[in-house]
């Protein structure tokens, strides 16, 4: 399934602060169950189909873990 917007999270860099999850207006993101090497539950994309590509998650991430992509026309 190809979505219009795509959010990629560098989960090894993520510190599990949750600011992206808190900022997402569409509840696309959530904490993953597993741990990363740093011992955090990193953020993950849970409902990619709802992503509107607003970039709020990117803007709020203090650790530059997020890339927002969009389908080329």
């Amino acid at each position: 399934m190809e979505y219009k917007n795509l959010v990629e999270i560098n989960q090894e860099r993520c510190k599990g602060c949750g600011l992206c999850i808190n900022a997402c207006p569409k509840k696309v993101l959530g904490f993953s169950e597993g741990y990363n090497a740093k011992g955090y539950h990193p953020s993950e994309v849970q409902r990619p189909e709802d992503c509107i590509g607003c970039g709020f998650c990117y803007r709020m991430c203090p650790d530059v873990c997020i890339t927002v992509k969009t389908l080329a026309k």
């Binding site: 949750g18 600011l19 991430c61 650790d63 969009t70």
Partner: protein, 251 residues
Amino acid sequence: MPYIDKMKGPHALSGKEFTYCPGCHHGIIHRLVAEVIDELGIEGQTMMVAPVGCSVFAYEFFNVDGTVAAHGRAPAVATGIKRAMPDKVVFTYQGDGDLAAIGTAEIIHAANRGEKLTSIFVNNAIYGMTGGQMAPTTLVGMKTTTSPYGRKIENEGQPIHVAEVIKELRGVAYLERTKVDTPQDVIKTKAAIKKAFMAQINGLGFGMVEILSTCPTNWGLSPVESLKWLEENMVPEFPLGVFVDKVGDAK
């Protein structure tokens, strides 16, 4: 897949992982400064001065020449760099202990001289690096490790309003107080940082942005709770807004 990047980490960051605690706003502010450097195309001409504080490593996080000053002295160090290399872009990055306590003289005089510098001032109302002691910007009644019964006006006075002090100095060309606790505020802060850089690039004078910021670790709150605390406690004490703007709006 034919996806294109819409938003990704700026080139002006070195890529090194930040040393900050989870949810600390230092990281957001670093990224914004780097985005501005990218957008202005000044990476090769920019030099930075890191402070002593949690952001002591900041000079390793940017893709620009950098150094770290003695505690509070970044504006004097930046003055030395800028006077030696007037064609370059120089900025300091400082916390509230660094800028508003030990380094008060240096920031005031750099601003007053109209040094063509930009200072990014992170006000998190506490000393982060040394473990949560009282800052000059700590709120009245706020408990810290050195104000364990809460800051008292009779003993420590009231929080210093840095932007309101700096705005009186004639050398200032851009001065704004912002916050980065919502995506909208992040956008506004980036615009403010850009103008604070334009102030020196256009030779107008000193530019500064005071950014209200969280310290979840020493506030004893989660990163998300910290956002709320900042809104409810810091914003009423430190009003947001533009104090000086000689830069004007770009066409």
